[in-house]
């Protein structure tokens, strides 16, 4: 090993990240090379100086009472958690039977679409991580209006839904950004929320479930996919869109937030969808029921019922 080799791995040497054999080679070189020895010593001295300076800087030390206050808060939280656990465990056995029966039924219903749900959850987590947290998307996000024209008119709804300030029992949630972005195989309408000091992504995307699936599964918040790096996805499936929340919040907290934010949005998305698919009788004149009644006596109007306009 020569001087250049030593300089190249000097950082890893100092961090003790090298293989034992490589370490030995460096040490052998240092025994005979005063220049490299001086360089390594200088780097080690700077590293030690940095550590010492940081650890004893007066401005960086916590206030004396902070440790006690923190300890008391944590102790209370621990007691509260334990009591909650004990309380809930008493009901667990009773609830288990009911949940088991319901779970088997639901599992049968959901199992058919578990693979797509897993893929959707992965993309949702990827989008949250790379767009909301890191700004590292391959394709730049686009404004919702543009996305509504190019990809899905339902994204227009996200221009003002959910509202900028949302009140929840656990504190306010605030919208900090709205746009549309793409991750993996999915195009999302993306609303970024700030809630309890965390970043939460609300993602809306077209779901590919069939109409039969849509009827068979109620629109309830449920966890989809497996958590990844502490990030979970709670989804509410509408007739045409899935509305997901992604965050590192606890699952029950995320589910509760979904009940407040996602459910109303799913209903509004369904309204938009049904408005879009209603026969456009208003284009042709009187209400369709009136036409139906009239058509018994007006065969010439019956033709109107057989005209099915293409869906937008």
């Amino acid at each position: 090993m020569n001087c250049r080799d030593v300089r190249e791995v000097a950082d890893s040497f100092l961090c003790e990240e090298l293989l034992t054999e490589t370490n030995h080679e460096i040490l052998r070189h240092l025994e005979t090379c005063p220049t490299c020895r001086t360089e390594i010593d200088a780097r080690r001295r700077l590293r030690g100086a940095l550590r010492t300076a940081f650890n004893r800087a007066p401005d960086l030390q916590p206030a004396g009472e902070f440790a006690d206050r923190l300890r008391d808060q944590l102790r209370q939280a621990a007691v509260h958690r334990h009591r909650s656990w004990m309380f809930s465990s008493r009901w667990l056995a009773l609830a288990a039977g009911v949940v088991l029966a319901a779970g088997i039924t639901t599992a049968i219903l959901l199992n058919r679409s578990s693979a797509p749900a897993e893929a959707l959850a992965r993309d949702a987590i990827g989008d949250h991580r790379n767009c909301a947290l890191k700004y590292r998307l391959v394709r730049t996000p686009v404004p919702l209006e543009e996305a509504a024209q190019r990809f899905d008119s339902a994204f227009r709804l996200l221009l003002n839904a959910p509202p900028d300030d949302i009140s929840t029992p656990d504190g306010p949630a605030r919208v900090v950004e709205r746009h549309s972005c793409e991750y993996g195989a999915h195009r999302f309408g993306h609303v970024i929320l700030q809630y309890r000091g965390r970043v939460v992504s609300l993602l809306v995307t077209a779901n590919d479930r069939t109409a039969a699936d849509a009827e068979s599964v109620a629109a309830i918040p449920r966890v989809i996919g497996r958590p990844l790096d502490g990030l979970s996805v709670v989804s509410v499936n509408g007739s045409r869109h899935a509305v997901m929340l992604v965050s590192d919040l606890e699952k029950n907290e995320l589910t509760q937030l979904a009940g407040i934010v996602s459910l109303p949005l799913v209903e509004r998305l369904a309204d938009v969808a049904s408005d879009r698919t209603k026969p456009t009788a208003w284009l042709l004149g009187p209400p369709i029921q009136k036409l139906a009644w009239d058509s018994d006596r007006r065969p010439d109007l019956a033709l109107l019922f057989r005209v099915r306009l293409p869906q937008p």
Partner: protein, 197 residues
């Protein structure tokens, strides 16, 4: 005797208190460095500890508790930056100075705490993070990569460039005439000389 399946409150708390709470001071220093505000730093540490408490059943005794806590803290700091609209990832220093590695002068002999910390503060935040985690907190490359949610290669490259730039800053700061910064005696009396290690 702890009942099977039911976590005993005092045992769980004792484990948490013994394993996690001793790291509160370290966490505070990191939080204070990045938040630059005592109240915010206390919020960050409190939130970190609360999350650690909630997730303590997932912590494996014998693994690096400091790295685990640092990962939680970094995620919280990152979320707060994001919420305040001061994300550091958009302006990636790896791209910005990929070909502009500074000349690396020798490490000054007369290193004071203030000189070292002032030079560190002049680096891009992404470099500060890696240097603090690897050199001060003594996290491994892998642990630092997990805490910062970046690849190991990026940790190594940022550490290399960050250390080089730190030396350049030390050299530049050291070269400033004595009248423009506190003299050696003032610094020594304020913070004490750094012992050579």
């Amino acid at each position: 005797m702890v009942k099977q399946g039911a976590p005993h409150e005092s045992d769980a708390w004792a484990a948490f208190e013994g394993e996690v709470l001793p790291h509160a001071d370290r966490l505070f220093r990191l939080a204070m460095w990045f938040e630059r505000n005592r109240a915010d730093a206390e919020d960050v540490v409190q939130e970190t500890m609360m999350q650690a408490l909630r997730s303590f059943h997932r912590y494996q005794p014998g693994t690096n508790c400091r790295a685990w806590l640092t990962t939680i803290l970094q995620r919280i700091v990152s979320n707060r930056r994001r919420a305040k609209g001061r994300s550091i990832v958009v302006d990636d220093p790896d791209d910005r100075i990929a070909n502009t590695e500074p000349f690396v002068p020798p490490v000054p002999q007369d290193l004071t705490d203030e000189l070292v910390l002032r030079s560190l503060q002049r680096l891009p935040t992404a470099f500060q993070e890696v240097i603090l985690l690897c050199d001060v907190e003594d996290l491994s490359y892998k642990e630092a990569a997990e805490a910062l949610a970046i690849p190991i290669g990026t940790v190594m490259s940022r550490l290399h460039r960050g250390r080089a730039q730190l030396r350049a800053e030390l050299g530049a700061t050291d070269a400033i005439p004595a009248g423009r910064r506190p003299n050696g005696e003032e610094l020594a009396s304020a913070h004490g000389k750094v012992e050579a290690s």
